[in-house]
Amino acid sequence: MRRHYTYYPGCCRDGNGMAYTLSLLAVAKMIDLDLIELEDWNCCGSTPQASVSEVASLCHSSRNLALAEKKGLDIVTECSDCYLMLNKTNRHFQENTKLKAILVTALAAAGLEYHGTMRIRHILDVIANDIGCEEIKSKVKVNLGELKVAPYYGCQVVRPLPSFDHPDYPQSLDKLVESLGAKVTPFPLKTRCCGGSLVLSEEDLALQSIHRLLENAVSNGAELIVTVCPLCQANLDLYQGKVNKKFKTNYKIPVLFFTQLMGIAFGIDNKALGIERCIVPADKVLAKSLQGARGG
């Protein structure tokens, strides 16, 4: 069964998180997922915009929601921050009459309207719950062997609004990784913050968070971390070297988007999945696990 969604990639698609989109689109083809990109979408404004002006930040998501509502499909995004901003704005349309009045008038000034009917989805939710683990399992072609994976959710995919999983102990990604044939390692800090964009302005603070996460994943036996958020991936991957320097550690754990791991299990070529875009190289860990699987 083909499933159709309005697709909101967010800004990460055109930069740092390009491998997420590449791998998602490659995987989507194999699980009959039609992601129809929202035309002329704008940035969600993210946390920085909400901190400068909450009202302005709501306007950004309001415009995207207004454009998406006309399409009549659920809107799906791969970025946890975009997911949160869309959800937050939607909630105001449903609950906050004062803010809703402002946003409705502002949209009307630009010839748009939004009625608060959209269902906002994260791509993890769509893959884990609409497609489901059984179907995922049936597409697996490559034995991942004993690859030990720490499933990292980060914060905004499960918080603050009631969503598709538990805010502290979510399971969807764990189950998904298992259905790909990898081994899920315990990861008590799987919903702890990576420091987000503060890595730019408060580097010490963010490095402390990143260090905590790497330590927790590695000490529980993980050889690889998978994430669902472009910012989490960037922080854990790009700043691993700085963590090592600051805390005198020697972490070399690759950090993949979960869609990249899906692609590997589905037998898609590494290049099409953007694996070489990881700063901490993933090929050795992957080769070892695949070889082990073949040998066994």
């Binding site: 940035c43 915009q49 901190s51 909450e54 402002i102 630009a110 748009l112 702890r192």
Partner: protein, 190 residues
Amino acid sequence: METKEKETKAFIDEICSIPGGEKIRLCIQCGTCSASCPNVNKMDYTPRQLIAMARAGMRDAVLSSNSMWCCASCYLCTVRCPRDIRPTELMHALESMAIKYPSKNTSITTPAMYASFSDFVYSLGNVPDVGFMTLYYLRSNPLRALKMLPVALSLLRHRRLFIKTRRMKPEAERQLKTIVDKAEELAGRI
């Protein structure tokens, strides 16, 4: 009412008038937010203390502190707060006040980072990584840009940083600006 009391009330009222700040009066000072916060050890005052200080009308101490700028918006406090005051959004509300406040604390560069991001979001509806970073370092500490050079080069080498970025159609950019301007105007009136 005495002047001090008036000032205190005015400060709390101002916080309450910003989306996200409405529920500050409901706080029971249980400290669940402070205990949940992953970044609390870097803050001048814990979230609980900051709320108490705000309600005591300590405008200067609150708005000059680094506390809200250490919030990474992980929302752990928000899902745990027994009074549902949504401390994360309260932090955002305090940030939006602090960004306009002439603080003597120049060591905090998060406001410059957020403002740079926000300026691009407003003018282009998009945030080009290179432009945003350049603007931020120019505004905060140009020397730090040198330290970031290895990071930027690593990103370039792994094809994760692009000079040329996506632009919305000009009419879409204008449409977005119209919405934001109108909403800001209306919010200012209320």
